[in-house]
């Protein structure tokens, strides 16, 4: 049985933990709204871009298609771009992303492919390093900036494209969380490079029957467009990550606050009982002493 003083200490320590989790929850709730707004604001650009891509990709096909669209022709070396958060305190989000990445990696290795990792964000490093220490190619640090913006996406995309052009890998996959709600963030695996051909049906609809004039030429435009598309894809992933992190953090911290409250209640009851027991014992002692006289 813990002494009264010890119990009091524990109650106080749980109380201060609760204060921290509550503050973090409120911060996450405020940030979530901003992150969601940012994710929504980015949508028009992505939509227009993929619309244009679809109409162009349908026209430029065969041998003339750029490498980013057609691929290297091989399918041997795979690169997994895993987007994790920089900060913890967001429940199972990071371990879910890592799990999805590892499942994909295992499937590819089982097929006899070479797999390497390109990690974005701090929290994916340790768990992936544990299993695939020799396969990690690079870490991209996003923890220095408060809110990853288009510059970071641009930097990542440019580096990926450069490596691709050099022939360091054949296929790149992007692993990132998709923000569904504060309760659900689904880790998703998408093919990033070569750019997957958009559905042909959409292309015909978007292009219509009208003859579109291109300047300079269709292929030149497509060549400009593809890196931009990769960048947008990464930017979208970063924004989704941001929203997911705040959402997951809000839920996790809400749970933690509630658990702390329960614990405080339990400890308080225990504390009161012990105190009562001590008082009763004291009384008995006094009465017994009085009777003995």
């Amino acid at each position: 049985m813990a002494s009264l003083k010890e119990l009091k200490g524990r109650i106080n320590s749980v109380k201060s933990t609760q204060k921290i989790t509550k503050a973090k929850q409120m911060v996450a709730a405020a940030k979530l709204r901003r992150a969601q707004a940012a994710a929504e604001a980015a949508r028009p650009y992505a939509e227009r871009l993929s619309g244009v891509m679809a109409s162009l990709a349908g026209k430029v096909s065969g041998d003339s298609a750029p490498k980013l669209l057609a691929g290297t022709g091989a399918n041997q070396r795979h690169l997994l771009v895993v987007v994790n958060t920089d900060k913890g305190l967001c429940g199972g989000l990071n371990s879910n992303i890592v799990k999805a990445a590892k499942v994909k990696a295992r499937a590819l290795i089982a097929e006899g492919k070479d797999v390497s990792f390109y990690l974005v964000g701090k929290k994916g490093r340790a768990p992936i390093k544990r299993d695939y220490a020799d396969r990690i190619e690079k870490w991209f640090d996003t923890s220095a900036v408060r809110q990853p913006g288009f510059e970071e996406a641009e930097a990542i995309a440019d580096e990926l494209i450069e490596r691709f052009e050099k022939g360091e890998f054949d296929v790149a996959h992007l692993v990132y969380p998709i923000f569904k709600s504060a309760l659900a963030q689904d880790p998703t695996v998408d093919q990033l490079i070569p750019v997957p051909s958009p559905a042909k049906g959409d292309g015909a609809a978007a292009g219509g029957d009208a003859v579109v004039e291109y300047e300079p030429g269709e292929e030149e435009i497509l060549e400009e467009l593809l890196p931009r598309y990769v960048r947008t894809q990464l930017f979208g992933a970063l924004l989704e990550r941001e929203a997911s992190e705040q959402g997951a953090s809000m839920t996790a911290m809400d749970n933690a606050t509630r658990n702390a409250g329960d614990l405080i209640n339990k400890l308080t009851i225990q504390y009161n009982r012990s105190r009562q027991a001590a008082i009763t014992t004291e009384l008995i002692e006094i009465i017994a002493g009085a009777e003995a006289l």
Binding site: P44, F150, E213, E215, P216, I221
Partner: protein, 85 residues
Amino acid sequence: MALHFELVTPAKLVRSEDVHMVVVPGAEGEFGVLEGHAPFMSTIRDGAVQVFKTEGGAPETIEVRGGFAEVGENGLTVLAEHVEG
């Protein structure tokens, strides 16, 4: 009479309005877009997009970097990577 003009960056939808004419700095030269322009697509070089709200009025200039312009049935869409100001 009015041309629907949209300027979009990855971060947000900067403009979406009906204007008279827009002059876009295309990769092979500037071109002006009025209502009813034939379908057209071009990459753009870094420069200023000039937006004429009314005929003969003073243009509003928006500096853009990197991207392309698309003219379709629904008007002109400029997709730019960066917009200044």
